[in-house]
């Protein structure tokens, strides 16, 4: 065993050396070529839009690739990117990417923050980033570079992390508040999670500490869970959320429940499970309840249906006081990011509309998986003004995704750049795409 390890290490050094010499030879041989290149800051669009399909006039730049599971992203006023990593890369959980020559491709990279996680956001001179238990804050200088990489402030710590639905995604309202998802570590609040025949708990005790969005202050350090205010409840797991500055409201996308047919084979078959329940987009006000775990939203009947764990049969309705979604999407697509578009670069119809990044399904199995795309919903004054439509697809790189492992890329984060481009992060292939409108 020891020998094996040693052999491996030698081998590794060897390969590094080799790579380095290859590179050197290589750069020398290309030197002349590069001299002819004018240093004009032209955007380096990806060949064939990097395999993505987009509406007419949109183009793609691979802003970064080979990152280690980038989750949510934030773009600075000069087009640099902060990405939160789900897995540590060399002990760093945040990566800062810069494009020094303005060709759209990030050419400088620096890591910091020794915790993995999902949430990240910039607001009022600070960068906020979350682990699965805490939210940290970094001070930004006038170039929006972090000045205290190794000594961030702790905004809140000790948030519930029981492995399932642990991502603490976040958004900020610019008025002193930060909104943090605390996902329910459960599918449908059964006594024993995801277990055949285990009844739903009444009332669901999980809702006391999870299954909602909590509001914390941005100007108070070292808050604990108890300092937060339960802003909206009955939300199973909200990975995509955004503060909409046009109507000063919080919007969230919920991952709907799984496994209707495996848990209730007498009521639902494979096809019904692949179709139900809807993934949902809500506008939430303080005190709202979206109904989980007692009800789910059936987009075909357009009703809130009582969960089978709580005596439902697929028809009985419930949750009279619970919110109705603004938009209902097909089941299990996993909305992982929400972004209200406020830029001027895209055509007029995109202004103030919502982009949603779908990570892509797994719970539709054995049916073909769906999602793995970015969709658009036109909005005016806080209300959708038309049907949702697919905006960008082809991330998976295969015609049919049977198992999520087949997908090369899975959209997870969204951010808007200073020029109105949008950025899409992918936590499977490690790519950050920049989508630019280059039409008339």
């Amino acid at each position: 065993m020891d020998m094996y390890v040693r052999a491996f290490q030698n081998q590794k050094t060897f390969s590094y050396l080799l790579m380095f010499s290859c590179l050197a030879v290589f750069l020398l041989s290309c030197k002349e070529n590069s001299k002819e290149e004018p240093a004009a800051p032209e955007l380096e669009f990806a060949l064939n839009n990097a395999g993505l399909s987009l509406p007419e006039g949109f183009k793609v730049i691979i802003a970064a690739d080979s990152l280690k599971n980038p989750r949510h992203i934030a773009v600075t006023d000069n087009g640099s990117i902060y990405a939160k990593l789900r897995e540590l890369d060399d002990d760093n959980g945040v990566v800062f990417l810069e494009d020094t020559d303005q060709d759209g491709i990030m050419d400088r990279q620096e890591g910091f923050g020794n915790y993995a996680g999902t949430g990240i956001g910039i607001s009022q001179g600070y960068l906020y980033a979350s682990s699965d238990e805490a939210v940290m804050r970094y001070t930004l200088d006038e170039d929006q570079k972090v000045t205290n990489k190794t000594a961030p402030d702790t905004i809140v710590s000790g948030l519930l992390n029981k492995r399932q639905h642990a991502s603490k995604s976040l958004t900020l309202d610019g008025a002193g508040n930060i909104y943090v998802n605390i996902g329910a570590p459960s599918n449908a609040c059964q006594e024993t999670d995801r277990t055949l025949g285990s009844p739903g708990m009444m009332p669901c005790p999980i809702l006391d500490s999870a299954g909602g969005v909590w509001q914390f202050r941005t100007d108070k350090l070292l808050q604990t869970f108890g300092d937060g205010k339960l802003y909206a409840t009955g939300l199973r797991n909200v990975i995509g959320l955004d503060w909409n500055h046009t109507d000063q409201s919080l919007y969230v996308t919920q991952h709907g429940r799984d496994q209707l047919n495996t848990l209730y084979p007498d009521l639902y078959d494979v096809k019904a499970n692949a179709d139900l329940p809807a993934e949902t987009l809500y506008r939430v006000e303080e005190g709202d309840d979206a109904g989980w775990p007692y009800v789910y939203y059936d987009q075909n009947q357009q009703k809130k249906i009582l969960s089978p764990e709580y005596g439902g049969d697929g028809q009985k309705t419930g949750g009279e006081d619970a919110l109705d979604p603004l938009v209902a999407f097909p089941a299990h697509l996993a909305p992982n990011a929400l972004l209200f578009y406020s830029g001027d670069q895209f055509p007029e119809r995109y202004k103030n509309g919502a982009f949603i990044a779908f990570h892509g399904s797994w719970n539709r199995a054995p049916e073909i998986q769906e999602g793995y795309n970015v969709v658009f919903v036109p909005f005016q004054n806080g209300k959708p003004t038309g049907e949702w439509e697919v905006f960008a697809e082809g991330f998976a790189g295969v015609d049919e995704v049977r198992s999520p492992r087949d997908a090369a890329h899975r959209p997870t984060g969204l951010a808007q750049g200073p020029d109105g481009s949008i950025y899409v992060s992918d936590d499977s292939g490690g790519t950050i795409y920049r989508i630019v409108y280059d039409g008339e």
Binding site: N10, S66, D193
Partner: protein, 181 residues
Amino acid sequence: MIQEVLFTELFMMVSNTRQFLRRQIKNRIELLLCLVCCSLISSCGQKDKKEHQEPSGVPEEKVVVKVDIPAEIMSSGKAVYDQYCLVCHQADGSGVPGLNAPLIESDYVQGDKEPYLTILLKGSLDGPSLNNGAYANNMPGFVQLKDQELADLASYVRNSFDNTGELITPEEVAEIRNKKD
């Protein structure tokens, strides 16, 4: 094995420098050539190493013994898998990255019967994880299934998805089920 690791290593290094290169080199063929060249050379080095290792008694690749499981057990085991397990572990056993463990060439599946059957009976809920937190979902236990169903299922999974292992009997399931812990 080493070869695989090495290749990944190289690939990652190349990817990291790729963006830089992309601006330097318009001619991608050169990049390709370099890649091929590098991997060729490194795989040569690889061979040398292997020759080095063999005399020193490092075990060769594990010999895969195909176990003959009666067809009816495989098909009844598959029926249980499709009904209860497929939704999480997927039709090809590949699982869901970051969420549900893959069952392909799984040490738990091919290893000792007791830990394997214990996972099937008790699952892995909330607390400490089987895989150091690599998979976020909860795995439910399946105590409500009959000994025969669990035995067929366990034998099927053990001989699918590139796993091999001997047949598991209902008596063995009953023994683990009845163990006081």
